[in-house]
Amino acid sequence: MAEKKKQTVLMQGPIPASFIANSIAKHSSKTNIGAHSIFLGQVRTDVVENKTVLAIEYSAYAEMAEEKFYHIRESAFKKYDLICMHIYHSVGVVKAGEMSLFVFVSSAHRAAAFEACREIVEQIKKEVPVWGKEMFEDETHVWKTNT
């Protein structure tokens, strides 16, 4: 249950592929794991009113966000038979093609990992006080809305 300790989810800047690889590699000693479900959110070059998004600048109500992330973790551990879970979300500028969200759920069998991962991502989008400012090439911006 050491996995359930309070972690800091928010991290400055994009989430590098090497960071994800290190997270995966660390799990090779946990040989009770049979299934990992990973979600990665990547910034898209969306076109809004004929202008292309170059980057998203994320801001957060950090203290409340960390509490929400903690609550989401706890709920998932209660509901699903999980071995471990890691969540990382960027704050600051994340360019198109870079990663802003990394949800990593591990369990003995695949059903729990799949279902928990999806539920966690939906909860993050809905419940966590984070905002994305979509920045265009002409230095204007709009505020992202989640669907």
Binding site: G41, Y58, S59, A60, Y61, E63, M64, A65, E67, H89, S100, L101, V121, I124, K125, K126, E127, V128, P129, V130, W131, G132, K133, W143, K144, T145, N146
Partner: protein, 77 residues
């Protein structure tokens, strides 16, 4: 009495501030009235309130040193 008000996302742009102190507000309804008077465009914005990091609906009594956050629709991920 001092209520700390936090503003996020587009609400910081509307008000030009990410933090304010309001001294005369004994409830969230009163606080919102004060803020809308000071920043009329805020009344047009879509947001929720959190008192001490907990989302509130309806009217909530405020006490000294409470922290009230104005939260536009979340768009993380």
């Amino acid at each position: 009495m001092a209520i700390e008000v936090l503003l996020f996302g587009q609400l910081s742009e509307i008000t030009g501030a990410d933090k304010l102190t309001v001294t005369k507000a004994s409830s969230t309804v009163e606080l919102v009235q004060v803020l809308h008077k000071q920043f009329p465009n805020l009344a047009l914005a879509n947001y929720k309130l959190a008192v001490n990091k907990v989302l509130t609906e309806g009217n909530t009594v405020l006490k000294d040193a409470d922290v009230v956050a104005l939260l536009p629709p979340f768009s993380g991920g």
